[in-house]
Symmetry: C2
Subunit: 368 residues, 2 copies
């Protein structure tokens, strides 16, 4: 109980209390090294400051320095809430962590849609925030165009489009896909099908690229008939399994022994389809998913998948933005966060080599 400090003390009172000028107070309190103050003066200032309970006004300070030590986070979601979206939530967690460490304030801009967000760009850029983190999961360039023209700092989170005007932080889809396919190859698979996701998602293209690279690295030729386009839903996994099984009905030796699904939903559908066809997973057929979402463990068997560290995405994004604000990071930077392989119960070695070889012979046969 130090009494009542009703209204915030300004730098003026400190100056008066300490019998020094305003600038002296400012410099001493900000620890400016360009001027050396007498120890006695410094003491007087500190004493006065604590006596009057001085804490600099962030707004005035911000106006003078053109730096608010605050970053904006803009996100749009049709979901009912921030909290109901695990991606947004995890991302935000990472952002908050870094901002707290670096003593930056986090201001949240939530919109119902990116159209709304676009309309509010001026308010994001009104000087309140030193930079912007945009959690913009799908390709939506209108707002990016709007921002890219301005001189402010901003980074795109969960996106990795190739644009020299902006910095992006995203999960490393191609490396993760490559890793996953390599995992299947190491298990002994050589005939690996790919069950793709939505055609217009960047992630789909990236995962496809990872698949391609892993195959190429292992010297396994690309086979168009192993690639099944689809969408990020279980139904597509299920249906494509039917298609696949039908396609290779007459030539079992060419039939894939594993499926790389572009997300867990597809994988879940594929597993169900396989089982419905009487094929055991993983003994007879391996299936892997992606993302380690709820689908991966929603029922048996639990799906082998790649786990993204979304929280880390948020952290790195916040760091990147801060670097950008401090002038250490220019536009064009691309940050990728590696994923982690989660081995569960749907991937194993293909059926025994003997069988395998036999199948491969059969494979040639079917070609003619």
């Amino acid at each position: 109980m130090t009494g009542n400090e009703e209204v915030a003390a300004s730098i003026r009172e400190v100056a008066r209390e300490a019998n020094v000028s305003l600038s002296t107070v400012s410099k001493v309190l900000n620890g400016r090294t360009d001027a050396k103050f007498a120890a006695a003066t410094r003491e007087r200032v500190f004493a006065a400051a604590s006596r009057v309970g001085y804490h600099p006004n962030a707004v005035a300070r911000g106006l003078a320095r053109k730096r608010m030590d605050a970053v904006g986070v803009v996100m749009a979601y049709d979901q009912p809430s921030v909290t109901s979206d695990p991606y947004l939530g995890a991302c935000l967690d990472g952002i908050l962590k870094v901002n707290k460490e670096r003593r930056q304030k986090t201001v949240l801009f939530t919109e119902d849609s990116w159209d709304e967000a676009l309309r509010h760009v001026p308010s994001y850029l009104d000087g309140h925030c030193d930079g912007l983190l945009l959690i913009i999961p799908r390709t939506d360039s209108a707002i990016v165009e709007e921002l890219a023209g301005r001189s402010s700092c901003f980074v795109l989170v969960g996106d990795s489009r190739d644009d020299d005007r902006l910095v992006t932080v995203d999960v490393d889809n191609v490396a993760a896909a490559r890793r996953m396919v390599r995992h299947l190859i190491k298990l002994g698979h050589t005939r690996i099908a790919a069950f793709g996701g939505n055609h217009d998602f960047l992630s789909n293209a990236q995962r496809m690229e990872g698949y391609r690279q892993a195959l190429a690295a292992a010297g396994i030729p690309w086979r168009e008939e192993y690639v099944f386009p689809g969408e990020y839903f279980p139904g597509h996994g299920y249906n494509n399994v039917g298609l696949l099984l039908g396609m290779f009905e007459g030539r079992p030796a060419e039939r894939p022994t594993a499926i790389f699904c572009f997300n867990d939903a597809i994988a879940r559908g594929a597993v169900d389809g396989l089982r419905a066809a009487g094929i055991r997973v993983p003994e007879e057929f391996s299936v892997v998913g992606f993302d380690d979402s709820a689908h991966a463990v929603s029922s048996e068997p639990h799906i082998t998948t790649m786990r993204h560290d979304i929280r880390r995405v948020g952290e790195r994004a916040a760091e990147a933005l801060l670097d950008c604000i401090d002038g250490g990071l220019g536009p064009g930077a691309r940050v990728y966060i590696p994923a982690e392989l989660v081995e569960r119960c749907t991937a194993a070695a293909p059926p025994s080599p003997a069988t395998s070889r036999a199948e491969e012979r059969g494979d040639e046969k079917t070609i003619r």
Copy 2:
């Protein structure tokens, strides 16, 4: 493509463009009614403003008006994340919704503990935010004391302590408990036990009060032996059922026919305990929970409970804070959010007298 507006235009350029003074621009753009400007002047100003792409600087404006149109939300959690705590998440959603509607910025202050928060009070009150929303679930007065001395606006969310210096918004525990007990009474129960939660939680006292009120309103005398203290965990529900059954072993006609549990965890334990004792729920015994948490539907039977609208708590809290900032709401205000009865499968009419007696006899048998 209007060209490149590299750096934000200031009110100066607008004034120059429009050939008017700074104050005219400010007044016209802010729609001040105290001065009537010629339509021509207004037009010129608007035209100039949009021509140079003018948007007022929020920081300068904030400094001048002493109002940032921003509110701070401070929360401390030991949880790994904002998103993993359903209470915090829902609350935040409500806050964000209202702030968005009222065009207020939301700045997030997350701390690892309330001690940390206490240490950062000065930074919350540095002028950046016009008021503070504190999501402070349990009694933790140090920080409240710290804030109550200051002249800023703040409201406590999820708390309803009686302190004239502050405004609180919380779930209406006593009304909800009263409502739930009345529900049991309406079903025909008159012997209703209460399984309490942690002794030191405010919610426990409030729910007990609701129980007391409902009984009193129905003219049912208070029976100390029907009240079982405990903690908010399933184990306490289970154990207290054992206790209760034991206590009334020799006098079945006095045994309660229903249990009002102070949360769903306790209720889940109670249901399990009853079933373990061979008693059917709800046919022979009713059990109700509170909070509509995951426990309520984690297994069969799904528990009849009271659902809180936490999102609404957030909304009302944000509204209360804004009212407070606008001077419309003074300290001492108490806002309560009503809960909703969720009828599920654990509450029914008590056994009919005849049946009841028979069952009670059977009950005695199983016990020996």
